[in-house]
Symmetry: C2
Subunit: 150 residues, 2 copies
DNA sequence: GAATATAGTTCAGCCCGCTTAACTAAAAAG
DNA sequence: CTTTTTAGTTAAGCGGGCTGAACTATATTC
């Protein structure tokens, strides 16, 4: 089993990066009193915009009951809004409230700050190189997601 | 507030990559019946090798009691081994059992497979570029971790 | 329009993680 | 050697996530 240099590099980067960001996110979620499931729903709404409750159910592979209860708590806490879908009055649409959006943005900014710290000491040439490479990766990753994503 | 091209690229990449890997990991953990806290401990042990129970306590910011109970469950399930520290017989050292190590490796291999799929269609020139960039990032990320890490 | 299917809510009950508190045992301090 | 500190275990109790089941309300099918 041969490993290309790129595979090696990807794996090394994944190890370091994943470990670090996981820690950051869990710490951030915890610091606010939100549970991980609750926090994950906020992240999903951030990523997807408006979601049906049934999308949440499918995405996290939980029962409708569980999704409903989690959503209710987030509504109570003021992080999300829940509205009837006009086109199907049985369905509910969820989206981040201003408070929820602001909250998630803070978390993202924290991650960004870490990354900015990471690269600020690179030379201009290195920065250019890295930026180009990441753009390539992001482009193809988005493309893959388009086919697989829920 | 000016944003360098690199900052932009890092942020875009982080969004896509984090979202995707989180989903992969939680799905993997869930598929095995392990809770996220239990799974996180296995990941920590994979990352760190042998850990004291007190390291777990500090890393996840939980009480010693909680750490002890989680460890006990993982020992019962056969994922980790717990031994007395010869140099301080009050302390316990935790490490992955063969079963635990194999299990985590499977999860990592799944992530790797995703990444390999991601890059397999890049040209040789692009692959080289991306590999170089990731190596640069990995190197500095490790360096930062050395100072901040627990 | 009656029968059926679908989207959510609510509730009882279970399991789990977590904390506090009481405890054991070993190490460190005096 | 006694006191105090440190590492971990154990048990009781709380709160949260999850499921299954019973229910409401809307949409779909025939």
């Amino acid at each position: 089993m041969t490993q290309s240099p790129l595979s090696q590099s990807l794996r090394a980067w994944m190890d370091v990066f994943m470990h670090r960001s996981m820690r950051g996110w869990t710490h951030f979620a915890k610091s606010t009193g939100l549970s991980m499931p609750q926090f994950s729903i906020l992240m999903q709404l951030h990523h997807r915009g408006v979601c049906g409750l049934s999308d949440i159910r499918a995405r996290f592979d939980i029962t409708t009951a569980a999704a409903s209860q989690l959503a209710e708590k987030l509504v109570q806490a003021g992080y999300i809004e829940r509205h009837e879908d006009p086109s199907d009055r049985r369905a509910k649409k969820l989206k981040l409230s201003p408070k929820g959006a602001k909250f998630i943005q803070q978390g993202i900014n924290q991650r960004h700050r870490w990354m900015d710290d990471l690269v600020k000491n690179l030379s201009a040439a290195q920065q250019k190189k890295v930026a180009e490479a990441l753009d390539i990766l992001t482009e193809i990753a988005k493309d893959v997601d388009r086919h697989v994503d829920m």
